[in-house]
Amino acid sequence: MSATGESLEIGSALPLSQQGPAPTRVVAGFGFWLFLLSDIILFAALFAAYAVLSDASAGGPIGAELFDKRHVFLETLCLLTSSVTCGFGSLAVLRTDKRAMYLWMFATFVLGAIFLAMEASEFADMVSAGAGPSRSAFLSAFFALVGTHGLHVSVGLVWLLIMLLQVATLGFRPMVARRFFCFGLFWHALDIVWIGVFTIVYLGAH
């Protein structure tokens, strides 16, 4: 009985009860991961509203008439590439390589800004063509869902600028690095939400 009791411990010198609290890095990352999941649940509510209302066009324009697939494909490429450059930027933070970090994060910022500009021009075209959020329930749900995603991307860009300023003034201290990793998680999560947006809203339009 006592012989099998000790083999429950997996691969660690100390038992779990004696290891002390997890490092701040792990706790902060886990907490931010929980926030991201709750943010995705917020998007789930907006997706549900869109799925329910997508046919309620009130005699106005429908999705298939409004959306340009080529435009959306370019937006998708921008966001996907920016996710990868952000990943390389995070690796540069791990190596404390300032030059590489500035290079990759500048690329991330530019690609994110191009995405936002494309989305803003799409919204402006729709509103000027009389397909604004007040036209139908379908368009209200569309602007709420895609607009919330765009708002998140804008917040991400401001956050990225603040992080670059912090690295410039404070350097790569652990606190700054932790925030940088949280920014990376945020940016990747936005890309995952965008997969849902382009599949359900743009490609699913009929």
């Binding site: 997890a22 792990v26 990868v84 790569f172 990747h188 490609l203």
Partner: protein
């Protein structure tokens, strides 16, 4: 100066976003990018081709989107079911569960209400 301490114990967990195997050369991002590009291309192709049986297209798009989300979670967020990531993985599973509940629950309830609702024309007839 190395920001990531080496040799931490698995029981204390592992934060999301950092490659668990400690490889810092960015290979996972390139592999993820390749997969994501293929799946994105396939999605846009499936939506605009007549090669696929039309009623099957939404199902195909759904499968491709879920596959790409999985690729992003595995290769960009570096979430896995490894023992040192039990917390992250359980949180992810719970998030997926609630997301599914909200989306499919809303759709089921609203379609049922739609089905049960008396249309405006019939209502006018009944009032005569």
């Amino acid at each position: 100066m190395v920001l990531q301490p080496q040799g931490q114990s698995p029981a204390q967990g592992h934060e999301p976003g950092v490659d668990a195997r400690g490889s810092h050369n960015g290979r996972s991002y390139l592999v993820g990018l390749a997969f994501a590009l293929i799946l994105t291309g396939a999605s846009f192709w499936a939506a605009s081709t007549s090669f696929v049986y039309a009623p099957a297209v939404p199902v195909l798009l759904g499968v491709l989107a879920i596959a790409q989300m999985g690729i992003h979670v595995a290769f960009f967020l570096h979430i896995s079911s490894a023992p040192d990531q039990a917390n992250n993985f359980l949180a992810l599973v719970f998030g997926i569960f609630v997301t599914g509940l909200v989306v499919f629950g809303s759709m089921a309830i609203m379609s049922h209400l739609n089905h049960a609702m008396v249309s405006m024309d019939q209502l006018m007839q009944m009032q005569r």
